[in-house]
Symmetry: C2
Subunit: 226 residues, 2 copies
Amino acid sequence: MLVAVDCIIFGFDGTHLKLLLIQRAFQPEAGNWSLMGGFVQPDETLPKAAARVLKKLTGIADVYLEELSAFSHPERDPIERTLSVPFTALVDIQQYETQITDDYHAGWFDINKYPKLIFDHREMVEKAKARLRYKAAFHPVLFELLPAKFTIPQLLNLYEEVYDISMDKRNFSRKILSMDLLEKLNEKDKGNSKKGAWLYRLNKKKYKANFHKVASIIPNPDIHYS
Amino acid sequence: MLVAVDCIIFGFDGTHLKLLLIQRAFQPEAGNWSLMGGFVQPDETLPKAAARVLKKLTGIADVYLEELSAFSHPERDPIERTLSVPFTALVDIQQYETQITDDYHAGWFDINKYPKLIFDHREMVEKAKARLRYKAAFHPVLFELLPAKFTIPQLLNLYEEVYDISMDKRNFSRKILSMDLLEKLNEKDKGNSKKGAWLYRLNKKKYKANFHKVASIIPNPDIHYS
DNA sequence: TCAAAAGTGTTTAAAGTACACCCATGA
DNA sequence: TCATGGGTGTACTTTAAACACTTTTGA
């Protein structure tokens, strides 16, 4: 049996949650939109294969990668039986090397409006989206989608986009800051307002140490995943 | 690449959380303790393969099965490269057909004291245990380990065993009943006390409908998983 | 000077936690 | 009659949710 990995790569452009797709270069389905994937090599584990594929497409290393349940339907690949293990990748879209777009005919698409995909890739994307909502309701993973320095209002926008809700900014910032993961910097970001918003950065140590802890950031998180 | 599934089968004997293991019948590692596993057949998905393996070993069908992350180290199987996907199975130990014990040289072991296992099976078991704790802290999966009719004190014992804590029975029963998943029967179980404890059964509809909801049953759930 | 986003504080409601007593029964 | 496990109720603490005003500043 062939074994492959496919990467569901999420990014956040400040307004919308985005998905990175490529136009497939070979048969079957050449020219059609697809997730970036690849076969697992003899010396690789699955996570290593996913990291390799991601690096090749985005130029980014050391990325948040989460393995999802395998896709194993016997006829999912029409040519030869292939098991595929999807990985969710959360990247800082600003670090994406845009020259790659040409090499792979890649493109970022709004998560709510992306083209028809080959095989069962649509199902993978929807699974990854549901999983992201589930995970982010309890664990501070969404920081992975932001640049190293970010503002609380940016973070709020991200949560509102991922869950398609609007949240109370006062309760939100209190909750986020009470998690004690952020360090306030002496800089402001004036990109979005005249007053400017304070920039923060993650305290990586605290982030790692507290990652497994459950933080209920979203009101009524139940209703946001199936 | 060969693709296999391995089942981490949990049961509850009323006191301890148990793990079902077999003595491997073939080389390599013949005679040593192992998880029950098998290769994925040409017409099977992974979950189907896991269900088949489980049925063969326990005689039980329609069991709670949850796929865990794949084990993919290139040298995990010394003979030939084999990818294995572990599945957690939660079974009602009373339904286990004991005659099978002889066929497979199977045995139930205390989850805290089980023999040396082949390959990376110990790691699978530990992952499954951690995952069970995580999952059960938020979702009512532990019912799967009990018979169709059970009492609140039995359920309490189960939670206390899984998390190795003691809980307040008053708060526990209030919490459980407020989830509105149980139906009180007109029977008592007198196995554990003179007074007898009321028997309940799951309302399957409500169970399925509310499964995704998050119920914080364990106090300080954070501290119980890594 | 005013529009637009940033930032802060208080009140109320709900959920979680701690804790103590009575009940039913068989030995 | 008493020891054993089963069952319930209440006060208190903590956490979440709702909500309104002041600040800064560039156009």
